[in-house]
Symmetry: C2
Subunit: 187 residues, 2 copies
Protein backbone atom coordinates (compact mmCIF):
# COMPACT_ATOMS: atom_id res chain seq x y z
CA UNK A 1 0.00 0.00 0.00
CA UNK A 2 1.92 2.91 -1.33
CA UNK A 3 -0.36 4.39 -3.94
CA UNK A 4 -3.21 5.63 -1.82
CA UNK A 5 -2.05 9.15 -1.23
CA UNK A 6 0.17 9.94 -4.20
CA UNK A 7 -0.58 9.44 -7.90
CA UNK A 8 0.71 6.01 -8.92
CA UNK A 9 2.63 7.09 -12.02
CA UNK A 10 2.65 4.03 -14.28
CA UNK A 11 5.98 2.36 -14.87
CA UNK A 12 4.92 1.24 -18.35
CA UNK A 13 7.24 1.92 -21.26
CA UNK A 14 8.50 0.51 -24.52
CA UNK A 15 5.27 -0.44 -26.27
CA UNK A 16 6.03 -0.73 -29.97
CA UNK A 17 2.95 -1.13 -32.14
CA UNK A 18 0.89 0.82 -29.65
CA UNK A 19 -0.46 3.00 -32.43
CA UNK A 20 -1.83 -0.09 -34.16
CA UNK A 21 -3.40 -1.33 -30.96
CA UNK A 22 -5.05 2.05 -30.51
CA UNK A 23 -6.63 1.83 -33.96
CA UNK A 24 -7.99 -1.62 -33.12
CA UNK A 25 -9.27 -0.32 -29.81
CA UNK A 26 -10.98 2.50 -31.68
CA UNK A 27 -12.81 -0.05 -33.86
CA UNK A 28 -13.96 -1.88 -30.76
CA UNK A 29 -15.29 1.32 -29.23
CA UNK A 30 -17.04 2.40 -32.44
CA UNK A 31 -18.76 -0.99 -32.68
CA UNK A 32 -19.83 -0.92 -29.05
CA UNK A 33 -20.74 2.72 -28.50
CA UNK A 34 -21.05 4.19 -31.96
CA UNK A 35 -19.04 7.01 -33.47
CA UNK A 36 -20.90 9.45 -31.23
CA UNK A 37 -19.73 7.59 -28.13
CA UNK A 38 -16.15 7.31 -29.32
CA UNK A 39 -13.85 9.54 -27.29
CA UNK A 40 -10.15 9.81 -26.63
CA UNK A 41 -10.74 8.72 -23.07
CA UNK A 42 -12.81 5.66 -23.96
CA UNK A 43 -10.32 4.41 -26.53
CA UNK A 44 -7.48 4.92 -24.07
CA UNK A 45 -9.42 3.01 -21.40
CA UNK A 46 -10.03 0.04 -23.74
CA UNK A 47 -6.41 -0.05 -24.87
CA UNK A 48 -5.22 0.49 -21.30
CA UNK A 49 -3.03 3.48 -22.06
CA UNK A 50 -3.05 6.96 -20.50
CA UNK A 51 -5.08 9.72 -22.11
CA UNK A 52 -1.96 11.61 -23.12
CA UNK A 53 -0.95 8.76 -25.38
CA UNK A 54 -3.84 9.53 -27.70
CA UNK A 55 -2.75 13.06 -28.45
CA UNK A 56 0.79 11.87 -28.91
CA UNK A 57 -0.08 9.31 -31.60
CA UNK A 58 -2.92 11.17 -33.35
CA UNK A 59 -3.35 14.79 -34.26
CA UNK A 60 -7.10 14.68 -33.71
CA UNK A 61 -10.02 12.39 -33.08
CA UNK A 62 -10.99 12.61 -36.74
CA UNK A 63 -7.60 11.18 -37.65
CA UNK A 64 -8.29 8.19 -35.41
CA UNK A 65 -11.68 7.63 -37.03
CA UNK A 66 -10.26 7.87 -40.53
CA UNK A 67 -7.49 5.37 -39.83
CA UNK A 68 -9.87 3.00 -38.07
CA UNK A 69 -12.46 2.97 -40.84
CA UNK A 70 -9.77 2.63 -43.49
CA UNK A 71 -8.56 -0.49 -41.74
CA UNK A 72 -12.09 -1.87 -41.50
CA UNK A 73 -12.82 -1.26 -45.20
CA UNK A 74 -9.51 -2.80 -46.20
CA UNK A 75 -10.22 -5.88 -44.14
CA UNK A 76 -13.68 -6.47 -45.63
CA UNK A 77 -12.51 -5.70 -49.17
CA UNK A 78 -9.74 -8.26 -48.88
CA UNK A 79 -12.23 -11.01 -48.07
CA UNK A 80 -14.33 -9.86 -51.02
CA UNK A 81 -11.34 -10.08 -53.35
CA UNK A 82 -10.29 -13.48 -52.09
CA UNK A 83 -13.70 -15.12 -52.39
CA UNK A 84 -14.29 -13.86 -55.91
CA UNK A 85 -10.70 -14.38 -57.00
CA UNK A 86 -10.89 -18.06 -56.08
CA UNK A 87 -13.94 -18.64 -58.28
CA UNK A 88 -13.08 -20.21 -61.63
CA UNK A 89 -16.34 -19.80 -63.49
CA UNK A 90 -19.61 -17.96 -63.22
CA UNK A 91 -21.35 -20.66 -61.19
CA UNK A 92 -18.53 -20.67 -58.69
CA UNK A 93 -18.78 -16.88 -58.54
CA UNK A 94 -22.47 -17.12 -57.68
CA UNK A 95 -21.62 -19.51 -54.88
CA UNK A 96 -18.89 -17.14 -53.73
CA UNK A 97 -21.39 -14.29 -53.49
CA UNK A 98 -23.78 -16.42 -51.45
CA UNK A 99 -21.02 -17.46 -49.06
CA UNK A 100 -19.83 -13.88 -48.84
CA UNK A 101 -23.20 -12.57 -47.72
CA UNK A 102 -24.23 -15.49 -45.52
CA UNK A 103 -20.94 -16.13 -43.76
CA UNK A 104 -18.60 -13.18 -44.03
CA UNK A 105 -20.92 -10.21 -43.99
CA UNK A 106 -23.78 -11.49 -41.86
CA UNK A 107 -21.52 -13.64 -39.70
CA UNK A 108 -20.00 -10.78 -37.76
CA UNK A 109 -22.29 -8.37 -35.99
CA UNK A 110 -19.19 -6.35 -35.11
CA UNK A 111 -18.30 -5.70 -38.76
CA UNK A 112 -21.92 -5.11 -39.65
CA UNK A 113 -22.29 -2.28 -37.18
CA UNK A 114 -18.96 -0.80 -38.21
CA UNK A 115 -20.17 -0.64 -41.78
CA UNK A 116 -23.37 1.22 -40.96
CA UNK A 117 -21.51 3.56 -38.64
CA UNK A 118 -19.11 4.32 -41.47
CA UNK A 119 -21.99 5.13 -43.79
CA UNK A 120 -23.48 7.82 -41.60
CA UNK A 121 -20.12 9.23 -40.58
CA UNK A 122 -19.22 9.48 -44.26
CA UNK A 123 -22.24 11.68 -44.83
CA UNK A 124 -20.59 14.41 -42.75
CA UNK A 125 -16.83 13.95 -43.05
CA UNK A 126 -15.27 14.20 -46.51
CA UNK A 127 -12.27 12.07 -45.52
CA UNK A 128 -14.58 9.19 -44.69
CA UNK A 129 -16.64 9.67 -47.84
CA UNK A 130 -13.45 8.97 -49.78
CA UNK A 131 -12.93 5.77 -47.81
CA UNK A 132 -16.42 4.42 -48.60
CA UNK A 133 -16.18 5.31 -52.26
CA UNK A 134 -12.83 3.63 -52.72
CA UNK A 135 -14.30 0.59 -51.00
CA UNK A 136 -17.39 0.54 -53.22
CA UNK A 137 -15.29 0.88 -56.36
CA UNK A 138 -13.11 -1.99 -55.28
CA UNK A 139 -15.96 -4.38 -54.51
CA UNK A 140 -17.67 -3.55 -57.79
CA UNK A 141 -14.46 -4.28 -59.66
CA UNK A 142 -14.20 -7.61 -57.90
CA UNK A 143 -17.70 -8.47 -59.12
CA UNK A 144 -16.84 -7.36 -62.65
CA UNK A 145 -14.34 -10.17 -62.90
CA UNK A 146 -17.33 -12.46 -63.35
CA UNK A 147 -20.33 -10.31 -64.29
CA UNK A 148 -20.97 -7.50 -66.75
CA UNK A 149 -20.91 -3.92 -65.52
CA UNK A 150 -24.66 -3.51 -65.14
CA UNK A 151 -25.10 -6.81 -63.35
CA UNK A 152 -22.18 -6.02 -61.05
CA UNK A 153 -23.69 -2.72 -60.02
CA UNK A 154 -27.13 -4.16 -59.42
CA UNK A 155 -25.74 -7.14 -57.59
CA UNK A 156 -23.69 -4.84 -55.39
CA UNK A 157 -26.87 -3.00 -54.45
CA UNK A 158 -28.71 -6.26 -53.78
CA UNK A 159 -25.93 -7.44 -51.49
CA UNK A 160 -26.05 -4.14 -49.64
CA UNK A 161 -29.80 -4.48 -49.19
CA UNK A 162 -29.70 -8.08 -48.04
CA UNK A 163 -27.02 -7.32 -45.48
CA UNK A 164 -28.63 -4.19 -44.12
CA UNK A 165 -32.06 -5.65 -44.08
CA UNK A 166 -30.87 -8.64 -42.14
CA UNK A 167 -28.83 -6.53 -39.80
CA UNK A 168 -31.77 -4.42 -38.71
CA UNK A 169 -34.44 -7.07 -38.59
CA UNK A 170 -35.25 -9.12 -35.52
CA UNK A 171 -35.24 -12.22 -37.69
CA UNK A 172 -32.24 -12.08 -39.99
CA UNK A 173 -32.50 -13.93 -43.28
CA UNK A 174 -31.30 -17.53 -43.28
CA UNK A 175 -28.57 -18.76 -45.63
CA UNK A 176 -31.30 -20.52 -47.64
CA UNK A 177 -33.17 -17.27 -48.08
CA UNK A 178 -30.00 -15.49 -49.14
CA UNK A 179 -29.32 -18.24 -51.66
CA UNK A 180 -32.85 -17.99 -53.02
CA UNK A 181 -32.60 -14.23 -53.51
CA UNK A 182 -29.21 -14.33 -55.22
CA UNK A 183 -30.16 -17.32 -57.39
CA UNK A 184 -33.32 -15.63 -58.52
CA UNK A 185 -31.38 -12.61 -59.59
CA UNK A 186 -28.42 -14.28 -61.27
CA UNK A 187 -29.70 -17.51 -62.78
Amino acid sequence: MSDLTTTPRRPRRHDPGRRDRLIDAALTVIAERGVAGTTHREIARVADVPLGSMTYHFASLDEVLAEAFTRHAESVARVFDERLGAAQDRDAAVEAVITLVSDDLLGSRHDLILTVELYVAAARKPALKAVTQAWMRRSRQALERHFDVTTARELDALIEGLVLHSALSTEPMTPEQIRHAVDRYLR
Copy 2:
Protein backbone atom coordinates in the same frame (compact mmCIF):
# COMPACT_ATOMS: atom_id res chain seq x y z
CA MET B 1 -32.00 51.06 -28.56
CA SER B 2 -33.04 49.76 -25.22
CA ASP B 3 -31.77 46.19 -25.15
CA LEU B 4 -28.03 46.69 -25.14
CA THR B 5 -27.39 46.64 -21.42
CA THR B 6 -30.17 44.51 -19.98
CA THR B 7 -31.33 41.09 -21.08
CA PRO B 8 -34.06 41.56 -23.70
CA ARG B 9 -36.63 39.18 -22.21
CA ARG B 10 -38.73 38.06 -25.16
CA PRO B 11 -42.33 39.19 -25.22
CA ARG B 12 -43.37 36.06 -27.16
CA ARG B 13 -46.32 34.07 -25.86
CA HIS B 14 -49.27 31.96 -26.96
CA ASP B 15 -47.69 29.60 -29.47
CA PRO B 16 -50.04 26.63 -29.83
CA GLY B 17 -48.57 23.79 -31.85
CA ARG B 18 -45.11 24.72 -30.70
CA ARG B 19 -44.44 21.14 -29.73
CA ASP B 20 -45.13 20.05 -33.29
CA ARG B 21 -42.86 22.72 -34.67
CA LEU B 22 -40.12 21.54 -32.34
CA ILE B 23 -40.40 18.00 -33.66
CA ASP B 24 -40.11 19.29 -37.22
CA ALA B 25 -37.15 21.42 -36.21
CA ALA B 26 -35.55 18.33 -34.70
CA LEU B 27 -35.90 16.50 -38.03
CA THR B 28 -34.24 19.41 -39.79
CA VAL B 29 -31.35 19.39 -37.36
CA ILE B 30 -30.91 15.61 -37.56
CA ALA B 31 -30.78 15.79 -41.35
CA GLU B 32 -28.29 18.64 -41.32
CA ARG B 33 -26.02 17.73 -38.42
CA GLY B 34 -26.77 14.12 -37.68
CA VAL B 35 -28.09 12.64 -34.46
CA ALA B 36 -24.72 13.29 -32.85
CA GLY B 37 -24.99 16.99 -33.62
CA THR B 38 -28.57 17.26 -32.42
CA THR B 39 -28.80 19.18 -29.16
CA HIS B 40 -31.48 20.98 -27.22
CA ARG B 41 -29.82 24.26 -28.01
CA GLU B 42 -29.57 23.67 -31.75
CA ILE B 43 -33.19 22.60 -32.08
CA ALA B 44 -34.29 25.62 -30.06
CA ARG B 45 -32.20 27.89 -32.30
CA VAL B 46 -33.74 26.46 -35.49
CA ALA B 47 -37.28 26.71 -34.10
CA ASP B 48 -36.51 30.16 -32.66
CA VAL B 49 -37.60 29.36 -29.14
CA PRO B 50 -35.69 29.73 -25.87
CA LEU B 51 -33.74 26.77 -24.50
CA GLY B 52 -36.11 26.41 -21.56
CA SER B 53 -38.93 25.59 -23.92
CA MET B 54 -37.26 22.29 -24.79
CA THR B 55 -37.26 20.96 -21.26
CA TYR B 56 -40.81 22.12 -20.84
CA HIS B 57 -42.17 20.17 -23.81
CA PHE B 58 -39.94 17.09 -23.63
CA ALA B 59 -38.70 15.07 -20.71
CA SER B 60 -35.38 14.27 -22.39
CA LEU B 61 -33.51 14.49 -25.65
CA ASP B 62 -34.24 10.84 -26.34
CA GLU B 63 -37.93 11.62 -26.23
CA VAL B 64 -37.43 14.26 -28.90
CA LEU B 65 -35.54 11.81 -31.10
CA ALA B 66 -38.16 9.10 -30.70
CA GLU B 67 -41.01 11.42 -31.62
CA ALA B 68 -39.10 12.86 -34.56
CA PHE B 69 -38.18 9.51 -36.07
CA THR B 70 -41.69 8.18 -35.53
CA ARG B 71 -43.01 11.09 -37.54
CA HIS B 72 -40.45 10.48 -40.29
CA ALA B 73 -41.26 6.77 -40.54
CA GLU B 74 -44.97 7.46 -40.58
CA SER B 75 -44.55 9.97 -43.37
CA VAL B 76 -42.54 7.62 -45.60
CA ALA B 77 -44.78 4.64 -44.85
CA ARG B 78 -47.84 6.62 -45.90
CA VAL B 79 -46.36 7.29 -49.34
CA PHE B 80 -45.50 3.61 -49.60
CA ASP B 81 -49.08 2.62 -48.80
CA GLU B 82 -50.58 5.14 -51.19
CA ARG B 83 -48.45 4.17 -54.19
CA LEU B 84 -49.06 0.46 -53.79
CA GLY B 85 -52.68 0.87 -52.81
CA ALA B 86 -53.39 2.72 -56.04
CA ALA B 87 -52.00 -0.10 -58.19
CA GLN B 88 -54.74 -2.29 -59.66
CA ASP B 89 -52.70 -5.22 -60.97
CA ARG B 90 -49.21 -6.63 -60.73
CA ASP B 91 -47.83 -4.61 -63.61
CA ALA B 92 -49.07 -1.42 -62.05
CA ALA B 93 -47.49 -2.52 -58.77
CA VAL B 94 -44.13 -2.94 -60.48
CA GLU B 95 -44.44 0.57 -61.87
CA ALA B 96 -45.40 1.81 -58.43
CA VAL B 97 -42.24 0.32 -56.95
CA ILE B 98 -40.09 1.95 -59.62
CA THR B 99 -41.70 5.32 -59.04
CA LEU B 100 -41.37 4.86 -55.31
CA VAL B 101 -37.63 4.32 -55.47
CA SER B 102 -36.82 6.81 -58.24
CA ASP B 103 -39.01 9.68 -57.14
CA ASP B 104 -40.06 9.37 -53.54
CA LEU B 105 -37.08 7.73 -51.89
CA LEU B 106 -34.23 9.02 -54.02
CA GLY B 107 -35.91 12.34 -54.67
CA SER B 108 -35.36 13.74 -51.22
CA ARG B 109 -31.85 13.82 -49.87
CA HIS B 110 -33.35 15.07 -46.61
CA ASP B 111 -35.45 11.93 -46.09
CA LEU B 112 -32.62 9.72 -47.26
CA ILE B 113 -30.25 10.95 -44.59
CA LEU B 114 -32.95 10.74 -41.94
CA THR B 115 -33.44 7.09 -42.77
CA VAL B 116 -29.78 6.18 -42.42
CA GLU B 117 -29.51 8.19 -39.24
CA LEU B 118 -32.47 6.26 -37.87
CA TYR B 119 -30.80 2.98 -38.70
CA VAL B 120 -27.67 3.62 -36.67
CA ALA B 121 -29.53 5.27 -33.83
CA ALA B 122 -31.80 2.20 -33.66
CA ALA B 123 -28.75 0.02 -33.11
CA ARG B 124 -28.28 1.67 -29.67
CA LYS B 125 -31.70 2.81 -28.50
CA PRO B 126 -34.42 0.19 -28.03
CA ALA B 127 -37.22 2.71 -28.49
CA LEU B 128 -35.94 3.51 -31.96
CA LYS B 129 -35.44 -0.12 -32.84
CA ALA B 130 -39.19 -0.58 -32.30
CA VAL B 131 -39.86 2.31 -34.68
CA THR B 132 -37.77 0.82 -37.50
CA GLN B 133 -39.26 -2.62 -37.08
CA ALA B 134 -42.83 -1.38 -37.17
CA TRP B 135 -41.91 0.55 -40.29
CA MET B 136 -40.34 -2.49 -41.97
CA ARG B 137 -43.31 -4.66 -41.16
CA ARG B 138 -45.65 -2.10 -42.63
CA SER B 139 -43.79 -1.69 -45.89
CA ARG B 140 -43.50 -5.42 -46.33
CA GLN B 141 -47.24 -5.78 -45.81
CA ALA B 142 -47.83 -3.13 -48.45
CA LEU B 143 -45.75 -5.18 -50.89
CA GLU B 144 -47.62 -8.35 -49.98
CA ARG B 145 -50.78 -6.88 -51.46
CA HIS B 146 -49.28 -7.63 -54.85
CA PHE B 147 -46.46 -10.12 -54.35
CA ASP B 148 -46.03 -13.38 -52.47
CA VAL B 149 -44.31 -13.33 -49.09
CA THR B 150 -40.88 -14.40 -50.30
CA THR B 151 -40.87 -11.97 -53.19
CA ALA B 152 -42.02 -9.17 -50.93
CA ARG B 153 -39.19 -9.74 -48.52
CA GLU B 154 -36.54 -9.96 -51.21
CA LEU B 155 -37.95 -6.96 -53.02
CA ASP B 156 -37.90 -4.98 -49.80
CA ALA B 157 -34.22 -5.79 -49.41
CA LEU B 158 -33.50 -4.86 -53.02
CA ILE B 159 -35.23 -1.51 -52.58
CA GLU B 160 -33.20 -0.88 -49.45
CA GLY B 161 -29.99 -1.66 -51.31
CA LEU B 162 -30.80 0.45 -54.34
CA VAL B 163 -31.65 3.41 -52.18
CA LEU B 164 -28.67 3.15 -49.90
CA HIS B 165 -26.27 2.45 -52.69
CA SER B 166 -27.46 5.48 -54.58
CA ALA B 167 -27.41 7.63 -51.52
CA LEU B 168 -23.77 6.96 -50.78
CA SER B 169 -22.41 6.95 -54.30
CA THR B 170 -21.09 10.04 -56.05
CA GLU B 171 -23.12 9.03 -59.10
CA PRO B 172 -26.57 7.95 -57.96
CA MET B 173 -28.43 5.48 -60.16
CA THR B 174 -30.66 6.98 -62.83
CA PRO B 175 -34.38 6.17 -63.04
CA GLU B 176 -33.59 3.98 -66.07
CA GLN B 177 -31.09 1.98 -64.03
CA ILE B 178 -33.59 1.58 -61.20
CA ARG B 179 -36.21 0.40 -63.69
CA HIS B 180 -33.77 -2.08 -65.17
CA ALA B 181 -32.90 -3.58 -61.80
CA VAL B 182 -36.51 -3.91 -60.62
CA ASP B 183 -37.68 -5.28 -63.98
CA ARG B 184 -34.96 -7.87 -64.02
CA TYR B 185 -35.99 -9.07 -60.62
CA LEU B 186 -39.77 -9.04 -61.02
CA ARG B 187 -40.47 -9.85 -64.67
